[in-house]
C-alpha cells in the first residue's frame, strides 16, 4: 500500500495541472491513433482505471465517436507473486471487445520498473492478438528494470530509490494530485 | 539387608487409620511398623517426610505383548514400567501370540517374570477360549495349574452366550473368575470413537455407550443366574455404572474397574486426530466421566486398572481408522488419579483402596502392610509437580495422549519384596 507510511515531501502536480496534463495526453493519443480503427482504451487497475475513463470521455467528446474500453487486473500476472509479499487482492478484468486486431492503449498512473505494464501486456495477450499495444502513464519516475518505454507520458520526474510517487484521484482519493514522498 | 522408611504418612486402609510412622524391612519382609520413629542399625534409611507410604499397588489389567509382539513391550520392560508407576504386581491379559491359552505360554510368562524380572509380581489372566476365538473353551484347569488367576478373552468379548455360561461355570470349578471385556461387537463395528456430538462433528463412526451396557447387563445376569462372581473391565459409561449399581444392590458378586484415562479425558480429545486418543472402550462423554468419578468416590467402582496397551509408534503413526486401539498407562496412572485427591474428590485412603483392590478381587496376597508380610511398598510424593514426558518411559512404547501434561503427584520409590525396584531421581 503505497499510501501508508508515506512522508510527503513535495506536490509535483496539482488538480489543475493534472487536468492540463491529461488533456495534452488525450491530444497526443488522438494524433497518434487517429487514423487507426479499432482503438480501445484500457485502464490498468487500480488507478489506471479512472485515468483511462477520463481519457476515454475526452476522446469521445472531441472525436464524436464511440471508443471501446476496458480494465485489466494484473494480480494474476505479477512476477513478484512468490517474493513473500502479500498476495494482492484480485479484481476482475473486463475486456468486452474483440481484442483480436484491436489497437489498445494501456493507461496507468505511474511507470516505474516496467513490470506492471509487462504483466498487463501478458494479460491482454491472453484475450487475443491485438494489432498493436501502446502505453500511457501519467507519471514516469524512472528506474526501469525492463526494456520498456511509454508511448505517452504526462510528466517525467527524477526520483530516488527511497522515494515513492503517489497519484491521488478524485474518484478514489477525493482529490487530484501527484506527490513525491519518502518511504 | 535392611531398609528403614521414616517420617512418611502410612496409608494402609485395610489395617486402620493413617498415621505418620516408620516401616522396617528385613529380608524381603516387613518386620516392624510403628508410629513415630524407629531405629535400626545398618539399615538403609529413606526419609519419607511429606510422602505417602502405601501397600504396593496392583494393576489388574495390563498387556505385555510377550510372546509375539515384543517390539511393543516385553515382560521385562513391562515390569520395569510397572515399577516406575508404583506397581508391585500386575495381571497380564492373554492376547499375546500365541495367546495365553496353553500351558507352554503361561509357564513361559511366569518363569520369565520370576527369573529375569525385577521383582514385580506378574499374575497371568489366561484365555477363556482357545485362541481367544470365542468358540471353544481353553484348558482352564491346566492354565490354573500354570498360574492363571482369572480367565478372560479381553479385547474380544465372548458373543456366544452359551459359551459364556459354560466358561463361567467350568472356570468356577477351578476357583477362577471370568473377567469381562464388555462390548457388543455388532454395535461397535467400524466405530472409532464414542458416539456423541463429537463423533458427529469429527465425522467418525461412533461406538454407542449402549453397546458396553448391553454386554455388562448380560454378564451380570449370567453371574446372577449362576450365582458366580464376575469382574467387569474398564467400565467407561454411566449406563454401565447404573447397571452395576443395580446388580450390586441385588447381591450379585460383580466387581468393576475403570482406567485413569476415562477419569481424565473425554471424547472431545479425539478432535486432534491423534491416534493415541484411540482406545477401546473409547473415551466417553463428560457426563460419563463425571459419573465415573462419582463411582470411584462411592465405591461402585472397585478398582483402578490402567489397561496398559503398548503399541509401537509405527503402528500408531497411521490413519485413524487403521490405528490399533490402546494407550500405555502404567507410568501415568498415579499422577492422573492423584488429581482426584488434590481436587478433594476422594481421600488418600480411597486412592489406596482403588489401587490395591485387585488383590482382593483375585484373591492374591497383598494390598496391606503387615508385620511379617511381604515388603511390597510404594512411596508417593503427593506435591511433586512434573510434566509427563513419554520419552522417559520405561515401557518400550510411547503411545500416550498425556505427553506434555502437567501433573502433581509422583511415585517416589517402589519396593517389591523388600527390593527397591524404582526410585525417582529429582
Amino acid at each position: 500500500m503505497k499510501r501508508k507510511g508515506l512522508n510527503i515531501t513535495k506536490v509535483i502536480m496539482n488538480a489543475e495541472e493534472m487536468e492540463r496534463t491529461i488533456n495534452r495526453m488525450v491530444h497526443e493519443i488522438i494524433e497518434r491513433v487517429g487514423p487507426k480503427k479499432n482503438v480501445a482504451i484500457v485502464g490498468i487497475r487500480t488507478r489506471g482505471v479512472p485515468i483511462a475513463e477520463r481519457i476515454l470521455k475526452k476522446i469521445q467528446e472531441l472525436e464524436k465517436v464511440k471508443v471501446a474500453s476496458g480494465t485489466i487486473d494484473i494480480a494474476l500476472y505479477r512476477d513478484d507473486f512468490f517474493k513473500g509479499l502479500a498476495s494482492p487482492e484480485v479484481g476482475p478484468s473486463n475486456l468486452n471487445f474483440n481484442v483480436d486486431g484491436a489497437n489498445i492503449v494501456l493507461i496507468d498512473d505511474v511507470i516505474y520498473t516496467g513490470r506492471t505494464v509487462r504483466a498487463a501486456i501478458d494479460a491482454v495477450m491472453d484475450y487475443g492478438r491485438p494489432a498493436s499495444i501502446m502505453y500511457a502513464a501519467l507519471v514516469d519516475r524512472g528506474h526501469r528494470e525492463l526494456p520498456i518505454q511509454p508511448d505517452f507520458v504526462g510528466k517525467a520526474v527524477q526520483t530516488g530509490d527511497n522515494e515513492a510517487v503517489a497519484v491521488y484521484l478524485k474518484e478514489i482519493d477525493d482529490e487530484d494530485k501527484v506527490v513525491v514522498g519518502e518511504k | 539387608m535392611k531398609l528403614l522408611i521414616k517420617n512418611g504418612t502410612i496409608v494402609n486402609p485395610k489395617a486402620g487409620k493413617s498415621f505418620v510412622g516408620s516401616i522396617l524391612v528385613e529380608n524381603g519382609k516387613i518386620t516392624k511398623i510403628a508410629k513415630g520413629d524407629l531405629t535400626a542399625d545398618g539399615a538403609e534409611t529413606v526419609n519419607a517426610a511429606g510422602m505417602i507410604v502405601t501397600p504396593g499397588l496392583i494393576d489388574l489389567h495390563v498387556h505385555f505383548r510377550d510372546p509375539g509382539f515384543e517390539e511393543k513391550e516385553d515382560i521385562l520392560t513391562g515390569l520395569e514400567a510397572a515399577a516406575a508407576g508404583g506397581f508391585t504386581a500386575v495381571c497380564t491379559m492373554p492376547n499375546t501370540s500365541p495367546a495365553c491359552d496353553n500351558i507352554g505360554t503361561i509357564e513361559y510368562q511366569t518363569k520369565k517374570a520370576a527369573k529375569q524380572g525385577n521383582g514385580v509380581r506378574l499374575y497371568p489372566i489366561a484365555a477363556a477360549s482357545k485362541g481367544l476365538k470365542g468358540e471353544t473353551m481353553a484348558p482352564i484347569g491346566e492354565l490354573k495349574e500354570g498360574g492363571a488367576i482369572a480367565i478372560s478373552d479381553d479385547g474380544k468379548p465372548i458373543t456366544d452366550s452359551s459359551l459364556l455360561q459354560r466358561v463361567m461355570q467350568y472356570a468356577s470349578s477351578f476357583g477362577l473368575m471370568y473377567v469381562s471385556h464388555s462390548e457388543d461387537t455388532y454395535l461397535s463395528k467400524g466405530g472409532q470413537m464414542n458416539e456423541s456430538y463429537f463423533s458427529t462433528l469429527y465425522g467418525m463412526q461412533g461406538i454407542p455407550a449402549v453397546g458396553e451396557a448391553l454386554s455388562v447387563a448380560r454378564e451380570c445376569l449370567m453371574a446372577q443366574y449362576l450365582g458366580l462372581p464376575v469382574h467387569i473391565c474398564h467400565v467407561s459409561t454411566k449406563m454401565s455404572l447404573d447397571l452395576i449399581a443395580y446388580f450390586k444392590a441385588q447381591g450379585v458378586k460383580v466387581t468393576a474397574e475403570t482406567a485413569p484415562h476415562y477419569l481424565s479425558l473425554t471424547d472431545e480429545a479425539v478432535g486432534s486426530y491423534d491416534t493415541n486418543t484411540k482406545v477401546n472402550p473409547p473415551l466417553r462423554s463428560e457426563e460419563d466421566r463425571q459419573a465415573l468419578i462419582a463411582a470411584v468416590k462411592s465405591g461402585l467402582i472397585d478398582a483402578i486398572a490402567t489397561d496398559h496397551a503398548p503399541h509401537h509408534e509405527r503402528d500408531k503413526n497411521v490413519e485413524f481408522n487403521t490405528a490399533p486401539s490402546g494407550m500405555v498407562g502404567l507410568e501415568t496412572a498415579v499422577p492422573l488419579v492423584y488429581k482426584l485427591v488434590h481436587d478433594k474428590q476422594i481421600t488418600i485412603e480411597r486412592f489406596v483402596e482403588l489401587f490395591t483392590a485387585g488383590y482382593g478381587i483375585f484373591g492374591l496376597e497383598g494390598g496391606v502392610l503387615t508385620e511379617g508380610g511381604r515388603a511390597d511398598i510404594t512411596l508417593i510424593d503427593p506435591e511433586y509437580q512434573w510434566t509427563i514426558d513419554k520419552n522417559m518411559f520405561r515401557s518400550k512404547s510411547r503411545n500416550t495422549p498425556f505427553h506434555g501434561f502437567h501433573v502433581k503427584g509422583a511415585v517416589f520409590r517402589t519396593i517389591a519384596g523388600g527390593k527397591t525396584v524404582f526410585t525417582r531421581a529429582y
Partner: protein, 304 residues
C-alpha cells in the same frame, strides 16, 4: 492461511473473501485462453486415495488454468498398495518439494495428519465423512450467484447426513453465514446430537422442503461396515426421493443442488435433476473458479 482442512475453523470473513476472490477466476474460465501464469513453477500433487471424477478433475483444471504443474497419484498406482504407510508416502512426496498437496481420503482426519508431517499447503478434498470444504465453498458460491446472499435463506439438506462430509461442511458454512438449515432423512441417517451444530432435524422430507429457498440432496451411500441405513433403494425412493410433488412444497423459485454423483431415481428424480431449478452443472462449473481462488489464496505469498 496455509492449509484448507475444513470449514469448521474458518470465520465468516475468510469464507466471504474466498468467494469474492472466486469471482475474478470465473471470468478466466469464460475466456478463449483459459489460463493465467499466476502459479507458474509451482507443483501441486493431487493425491486421491478414494475414487473421484468430479473433484479430482476440477482441481486439476483449476491448477492448470493457474499454470501450476499438476501431478496425480491414484492409490492403485501408489506405494500404499505395496504396503508403505501413508506417513512414509507423505515424507517421500515431501522430499520432492511440492508446494501443495490435495488429499482425498476415506479416513476422517487424514489431511490433518498430513498437515503435521508435511511442509507444503494441504487442501482437504474430502476426508471420510468429516469435511469437504471446497465443495461447501462452491455450493455457497452457487447459492450466492443464484440468490444474491448467503444469509436468511432456508436450506433443506436431505439424505445420509451421518455419513456425509458434504453435509458437515455445508452446515458449518451456511450456519456461519446466517442461513437456516434443516436436515432430513430417515433416523438412521441422522447422526447423534447434530442439532448442536445449529440445524433443525426432521424425518419428514416435506417438512424440510417446506418454503425452502435451497434444496440440497445428498448421495445415498452404499452399504457400510456397520450395515445398510435403509431397507433398499426402492423403499428409499418411495419416501425420500426429490420429485415434483416433494419439490412443490418449496418456494416456487427454489434452487435444487446435488454434489454428485447422483443416483437418478433414488434420491432425485430425473425431471428435477434435468429441470430448470437444478443448478447441478453450474455447481460443477463454479467448482473450478472456487478451487482456483483457494489455490491462489493459499499459495500466494504471505497472505493471511
Amino acid at each position: 492461511m496455509k492449509h484448507l482442512l475444513g470449514i469448521e475453523n474458518l470465520n465468516r470473513d475468510q469464507i466471504m473473501h474466498i468467494l469474492e476472490t472466486a469471482v475474478s477466476f470465473e471470468e478466466i474460465n469464460q475466456r478463449q485462453i483459459k489460463k493465467v501464469p499466476t502459479l507458474k513453477g509451482l507443483s501441486v500433487i493431487n493425491f486421491f486415495a478414494e475414487p473421484s471424477t468430479r473433484t479430482r478433475m476440477s482441481f486439476e483444471v483449476a491448477e492448470k488454468r493457474l499454470s501450476a504443474d499438476s501431478y496425480n497419484i491414484a492409490v492403485s498406482g501408489s506405494a500404499i498398495t505395496k504396503g508403505e504407510t501413508l506417513s512414509d508416502t507423505a515424507l517421500n512426496l515431501q522430499a520432492m518439494a511440492p508446494d501443495c498437496l490435495i488429499i482425498r481420503h476415506a479416513v476422517s482426519g487424514t489431511p490433518h495428519m498430513l498437515a503435521q508431517i508435511m511442509d507444503c499447503s494441504i487442501i482437504n478434498a474430502g476426508d471420510g465423512f468429516h469435511e469437504h470444504p471446497t465443495q461447501a465453498l462452491l455450493d455457497a458460491y452457487t447459492i450466492q450467484k443464484k440468490k444474491g446472499r448467503l444469509d436468511g435463506l432456508k436450506v433443506a439438506l436431505m439424505g445420509d447426513i451421518a455419513h456425509s462430509r458434504v453435509a458437515r461442511s455445508n452446515i458449518h458454512l451456511l450456519t456461519k453465514t446466517g442461513s437456516h438449515v434443516t436436515v432430513a432423512g430417515p433416523a438412521t441417517m441422522i447422526p447423534k446430537d447434530i442439532k448442536k451444530l445449529g440445524v433443525e432435524v426432521t424425518y419428514d422430507p416435506k417438512e424440510a422442503v417446506k418454503d425452502a429457498d435451497i434444496v440440497m440432496m445428498l448421495r445415498i451411500q452404499e452399504e457400510r461396515e456397520s450395515g445398510l441405513m435403509y431397507p433398499d433403494r426402492r423403499e428409499y425412493a418411495k419416501f425420500f426421493c426429490l420429485d415434483e410433488k416433494l419439490l412443490s412444497y418449496a418456494k416456487p423459485d427454489a434452487t435444487v443442488m446435488h454434489p454428485g454423483p447422483a443416483n437418478r431415481g433414488v434420491e432425485i428424480d430425473d425431471n428435477i435433476m434435468d429441470g430448470d431449478r437444478s443448478v447441478i452443472l453450474e455447481q460443477v462449473a463454479n467448482g473450478v473458479a472456487v478451487r482456483m481462488a483457494v489455490l491462489y489464496l493459499l499459495l500466494g505469498g504471505s497472505n493471511s
